[in-house]
C-alpha cells in the first residue's frame, strides 16, 4: 500500500507521506523493546460468551431499525436535493409557500414514538437479562481490582491472587460454567473491557460492580482498561485465557502452590527480600508480603510483564527493573537504583517463579 500511495500526487498521499515521515522520526528516536505481535482483533461482533452474544443479537436488531430509518430519510433527502434545484438561474419567481400540514406532521410524530417504544422494550429485556442474571452456585467467583496501571485478580474461593492475566474455565453446553467477576478499584476509576467476552463495566473505589461471562471457545482474548486512569492508561492491557476444565484445574493447582524455592538462585532471592521489592510485592511463602504491586508468586507463568507492556523475557525484565519508566513511562514502580549485577541476580531469581 505504501509504495502506490507515495507515487500518487494529491493531498491524501501528501498527508500520508507527511504522517509516515513524522512517525518514523518518532520511531527512530527511541528504540523500545520490540516484542512479538499478538494478532487478534477484539471486535464487538466476535462474541464468544453469553453476554457478548446477547449484546450482539440486540445490536443486529437495532442496526436493522436504524438502517431502515437511514435508508428512508436519506432517500428523501437525496430526492429533494436533486429534484428541487433551481433549474434556471434567472428564474426569480417564488415557489408556492407551504406552511405545514397537520396530518403529515402527526404521522411523522406518531411513527417515531412507536419505533421508540419497540426499541425500548426490546432493549429493556436484554438489559435485565444481562445485568440481573442470577449467578449459579457453581460459578467461579473472582475479584478483579483495578490499580494504576495493572490488574489484580483475587481468586478468593481458590485461595490465591495473581495479576494481569485472568484465567477462566470454558463453558460448554454440557457443562455450563459461569465466571462471576466482581469489579473493584484500589485507586481511581478503571474499566474492564474484553470485547469478545462482554461489554465493559467500570471499577470505582469503594464500590463493587459485577459482570459475568460464559466463554464458549478456549483461547486468549485481549482487552484493555477503558476508562482514562492516568499517564499509562493506554498500556493497562488485559489478557483473558479461557481454558478447558482440565487445563484450568492444572493452572489453579500450580497457582495455589507457594513460590518455588530454588537453591541455585538463593543470592537473587536474598537480594529481592532485602531490597524494597518486598514492600510492594507478594511472593507467597517468603518474606515478601507487600500489597501495593502485582503478586509475583508465579510471575513466570505469565506471558507479559507490566500488564502487557512487554513480553515476559529475562531481557525485558532486566530493562524493566533497571528503569520501569523506559518500558512504561509513568508507571508507579520506581527505578530501584540497583547495579547491573544485582539486577541480573534478581532476574535469575524471578525467572524461577513459575
Amino acid at each position: 500500500m505504501s509504495g502506490r500511495w507515495l507515487q500518487r500526487k494529491g493531498p491524501g498521499s501528501a498527508a500520508y507521506a507527511l504522517l509516515l515521515l513524522l512517525s518514523s522520526a518518532g520511531h527512530a528516536a527511541w528504540a523500545v523493546p520490540t516484542d512479538t505481535v499478538v494478532y487478534q482483533t477484539p471486535s464487538v461482533f466476535d462474541a464468544h460468551s453469553g453476554p457478548a452474544l446477547l449484546i450482539h443479537h440486540l445490536s443486529l436488531f437495532v442496526m436493522q431499525i436504524t438502517g431502515a430509518i437511514f435508508i428512508v430519510v436519506a432517500s428523501l433527502w437525496l430526492y429533494v436535493v436533486v429534484r428541487f434545484r433551481q433549474r434556471d438561474p434567472n428564474d426569480d419567481s417564488e415557489p408556492p409557500q407551504i406552511y405545514g400540514s397537520t396530518q403529515i406532521e402527526l404521522a411523522w410524530t406518531v411513527i417515531p414514538v412507536l419505533i421508540t417504544v419497540v426499541l425500548f422494550f426490546t432493549t429493556a429485556r436484554f438489559l435485565f437479562a444481562i445485568q440481573d442474571q442470577k449467578m449459579p452456585p457453581t460459578a467461579l467467583d473472582v475479584d478483579a481490582v483495578g490499580h494504576q496501571f495493572w490488574w489484580e485478580f483475587h481468586y478468593k474461593t481458590l485461595g490465591f491472587t495473581t495479576a494481569n492475566e485472568l484465567h477462566v474455565p470454558l463453558s460448554t453446553a454440557q457443562v455450563p460454567t459461569t465466571t462471576s467477576l466482581n469489579l473493584l478499584s484500589a485507586d481511581v476509576v478503571h474499566s474492564f473491557w474484553v470485547p469478545e467476552l462482554n461489554g465493559k463495566i467500570d471499577m470505582f473505589p469503594n464500590q463493587v460492580n459485577h459482570m459475568w461471562f460464559t466463554p464458549d471457545k478456549p483461547g486468549m482474548y485481549v482487552g484493555q482498561c477503558a476508562q482514562f486512569c492516568g499517564v499509562e492508561h493506554a498500556k493497562m492491557l488485559l489478557r483473558v485465557y479461557v481454558q478447558t476444565s482440565e487445563d484450568f484445574a492444572a493452572w489453579v493447582k500450580n497457582q495455589q502452590q507457594p513460590a518455588v524455592q530454588d537453591p541455585a538462585v538463593a543470592e537473587g532471592r536474598h537480594l529481592f527480600e532485602s531490597q524494597s521489592c518486598v514492600s510492594c510485592h507478594v511472593v507467597r511463602g517468603t518474606a515478601a508480603q507487600g500489597k501495593f504491586g502485582p503478586d509475583l508468586t508465579h510471575f513466570m507463568s505469565r506471558d507479559t510483564l507490566a500488564s502487557g507492556a512487554a513480553d515476559n523475557t529475562p531481557a525485558n525484565l532486566k530493562l524493566w527493573i533497571k528503569d520501569p519508566d523506559y518500558v512504561k513511562p509513568g508507571s508507579l514502580m520506581p527505578a530501584m537504583q540497583l547495579s547491573d549485577d544485582q539486577i541480573d541476580k534478581i532476574v535469575a531469581y524471578l525467572d524461577t517463579l513459575k
Binding site: P11, G26, E105, T123
Partner: protein
C-alpha cells in the same frame, strides 16, 4: 437619510458612514470598551475562530501520534494534556463563544431591537469568557508540572474523580481546568440572561413570541438550558477545589465520599451542554434552509414545540454517559427510555427541514451546501446516538472510538458545518462584503471529503475494540490502517479550514460589496445596511408576520394572510 423605495421604508439609514475612524489606538480602544452587541458578537466569534485553529492544531498533533501503533511522536504525558486541552478548548473556548457570538450579533437585530437588554453585562460576559480561556492556556507555561510537561490539565475534558483529587493529580493541572472554567462560566450565564431578557422584553411592535424567527426561539431555549446546567458544573468544580485544598471528601473514597457523584454532576451539565451547542446549529439551519429553498419553514409551531421538547427532555438523559458505572438495571432502563425519547423531536426537525426543501427552488450557494450536508450528517449522527442509547450495546461501545466518531459527527458534521454555513450567510451582513464563492466551494468540498474520510471510518476501530484516551495502541489488533486513514482525513480538514480562514481575511479587504440584502431574505437583520449602523434601525420596525420582508416584497401574497 431614508430611502422609502426599499423594503421597511425608513428603517434603513443610507447616510454614508463617516470616514474618520480615529487613530489605530483609538480604534482598538473602541473595541475594548464597546458595549455594542455587534462588536461584542464579533469579538466572541473572532475568539472562537482563533481557538478553532488552536484546537484543530491540537487534534492534528493527536492524529499524528495515533497514525501508527507504538508511535513516539508524543510521550504520554504530553499526549494526555493535548487531548484534554483539545476537548476543553473545542467545547468551552470554541463552541460556547461561537454560539454566544452569533446570538449576540443576531438576536437584537432579528427582534428589531437596538441592542441587548444589558449591554454592559454583555461586555462583562465576553471578557469573563476571554479571561477563562487565557487562564486555561496559561497552564501550558505556568509553572513546571510533573515530568516537565507543563501544567496543562491531563485528566480528559470530563475530569473524573478521584483521578482529579490531590492524591492522583499532583501539581496544578486540575486546578487550571476547574478555575478557568468557573470563570468562563460566569460569562456564559451572563450571556444567557441577556438573551432571555432581550427576547422576552425587547421585541419590536407586532412581533409576538410566535412571530419571532426560529433562531431567536432556539437561543431562548438554549439560554434557559444554560441557566439550569452551568450551575452543576460550577458547583462540582468548587467541590473539587474544596476536596483538593480544604480537606473535603466529596469525590474521593474517604470519609463517606462517593466518586461516582462527580460523574453525575458532570454529565447533568455535560449532556445538556452538547444540546446547548447543537441547538444554535439548528437555529442557523432554520434560517438558511428556507431562504435558499425559497420557501417558508415547514411547520413553524411544530419546530418551536420540538425545540422546546429537545431542550426539556435533554435535561433527563445524562446518565446515558454512565451506563457502565454500575447503576441498577431499572436506573439504566430509565435513561434508555429518556434518551430514545429525545430522538423523536429531533427526527421531527429533520423531517421539517426536508419538507421545507420539498417543492422549493434550491439555490446551492456555499451556505446552503453546508446546511444540506448538515442534514444528512446529523441524521447519521442521531442514528449512531440511538445505537449508543441501547444500554447493553453501549456497554461495548462506551469509551471507544465509536463514541468519539459519534460525537465528532455531531460536533463537526452538524455544528461546525452549520456554523460554516452561518458564516457564509451572515458574513456579508457583519462586514458588508461577500465571501468569495469559489474559495467557498473549495472549502466545502475539501472539508466534506476530509470529514467523511476521518469520521465515517473512525467508527470502525471503535467497533473493533479500540478505547479512547489512549496515547498509543497495540499493533496486531487490526486498528492500524483505519487510524492512518482517519489521520489523513484530519489533515484534509485542516487544509480546508485554512482556506476558510484565508477567505475571510481576503474577502474582508477585497470582497465585493454586499448591500443590505444579498440573499433576498426575509428576517429583520436584512432590513438595515451591511454592516448595520450602531443603532441598528433608523426607526423601530413594525411587523405583521414571521417574515416581515417577504410581506414587503410580496404585498399581493403576504404571510400575514396565512399564519
Amino acid at each position: 437619510m431614508a430611502d422609502s423605495t426599499l423594503p421597511i421604508g425608513s428603517a434603513i439609514d443610507l447616510t454614508p458612514p463617516s470616514e474618520s475612524y480615529g487613530t489605530w489606538l483609538e480604534q482598538v480602544h473602541s473595541w475594548v470598551v464597546t458595549v455594542d452587541h455587534k462588536k461584542i458578537g464579533l469579538m466572541y466569534i473572532g475568539y472562537a475562530v482563533v481557538f478553532l485553529l488552536v484546537g484543530g492544531f491540537e487534534a492534528l498533533l493527536l492524529r499524528i501520534q495515533l497514525a501508527v501503533p507504538h508511535n513516539n511522536f508524543l510521550p504520554p504525558e504530553v499526549f494526555n494534556r493535548i487531548f484534554t486541552m483539545h476537548g476543553t478548548t473545542m467545547v468551552f473556548l470554541m463552541g460556547m463563544p461561537l454560539i454566544i457570538g452569533f446570538a449576540n450579533y443576531l438576536v437584537p437585530l432579528m427582534v428589531g431591537a437596538r441592542d441587548m437588554a444589558f449591554p454592559r453585562m454583555n461586555a462583562f460576559s465576553f471578557w469573563m469568557t476571554a479571561l477563562g480561556g487565557l487562564m486555561l492556556y496559561y497552564s501550558f507555561i505556568g509553572g513546571v508540572g510533573l515530568q516537565g510537561a507543563g501544567s496543562a490539565p491531563d485528566v480528559t475534558w470530563w475530569a473524573y474523580a478521584p483521578l482529579t483529587e490531590r492524591a492522583f493529580s499532583r501539581g496544578h493541572s486540575t486546578d487550571y481546568w476547574a478555575l478557568s472554567l468557573i470563570v468562563s462560566g460566569f460569562g456564559t450565564v451572563g450571556a444567557a440572561v441577556n438573551i432571555i431578557a432581550t427576547t422576552i422584553c425587547m421585541r419590536c411592535k407586532g412581533m409576538t413570541l410566535f412571530r419571532m424567527p426560529l433562531l431567536v426561539w432556539l437561543y431562548l431555549i438554549v439560554s434557559g438550558m444554560i441557566l439550569i446546567v452551568i450551575t452543576p458544573l460550577t458547583a462540582a468544580q468548587i467541590m473539587l477545589t474544596i476536596d483538593r485544598y480544604l480537606g473535603g471528601h466529596f469525590f474521593d473514597s474517604q470519609a463517606g465520599g462517593v466518586p461516582v457523584v462527580w460523574a453525575h454532576f458532570f454529565w447533568i451539565f455535560g449532556h445538556p451542554e452538547v444540546y446547548v451547542l447543537v441547538l444554535p446549529a439548528f437555529a442557523i439551519a432554520n434560517e438558511v434552509i428556507p431562504v435558499f429553498s425559497r420557501k417558508a419553514i415547514f411547520g413553524y409551531p411544530a419546530m418551536v414545540a420540538a425545540s422546546a421538547g429537545i431542550g426539556l427532555i435533554s435535561l433527563s438523559v445524562w446518565a446515558h454517559h454512565m451506563f457502565t458505572v454500575g447503576m441498577t438495571s431499572a436506573q439504566n432502563a430509565f435513561f434508555v427510555l429518556s434518551t430514545s425519547l429525545v430522538g423523536v423531536p429531533t427526527g421531527i426537525k429533520i423531517f421539517n427541514w426536508i419538507a421545507t426543501m420539498w417543492g422549493g427552488k434550491i439555490r446551492f450557494a456555499t451556505a446552503m451546501l453546508f446546511c444540506t450536508a448538515f442534514l444528512i450528517q446529523f441524521l447519521f449522527a442521531g442514528l449512531t446516538g440511538i445505537m449508543l442509547s441501547v444500554a447493553p450495546w453501549d456497554w461495548q461501545l462506551h469509551n471507544s472510538y465509536f463514541v468519539i466518531a459519534h460525537f465528532h459527527y455531531v460536533l463537526v458534521g452538524a455544528i461546525v458545518f452549520c456554523f460554516f454555513g452561518g458564516f457564509y450567510y451572515w458574513f456579508p451582513k457583519m462586514t458588508g462584503k461577500m465571501l468569495d464563492e469559489r474559495l467557498g466551494k473549495w472549502h466545502f468540498w475539501l472539508f466534506l471529503i476530509g470529514f467523511h474520510v476521518c469520521f465515517d471510518l473512525m467508527h470502525i476501530p471503535g467497533l473493533l475494540g479500540m478505547p479512547r484516551s489512549i496515547y498509543t495502541y497495540e499493533p496486531g489488533r487490526g486498528w492500524d490502517n483505519w487510524n492512518m486513514i482517519v489521520s489523513i482525513g484530519g489533515m484534509i480538514q485542516g487544509v480546508a479550514t485554512l482556506i476558510f480562514a484565508y477567505n475571510m481575511v481576503y474577502s474582508y479587504f477585497k470582497g465585493p460589496d454586499a448591500g443590505p440584502d444579498p440573499w433576498d431574505a426575509w428576517t429583520l437583520e436584512w432590513a438595515t445596511s451591511s454592516p448595520p449602523p450602531e443603532y441598528n434601525f433608523a426607526s423601530a420596525p413594525v411587523v405583521a408576520s414571521r417574515r416581515p420582508l417577504w410581506d414587503l416584497k410580496h404585498p399581493e401574497d403576504p404571510d400575514s394572510r396565512y399564519e
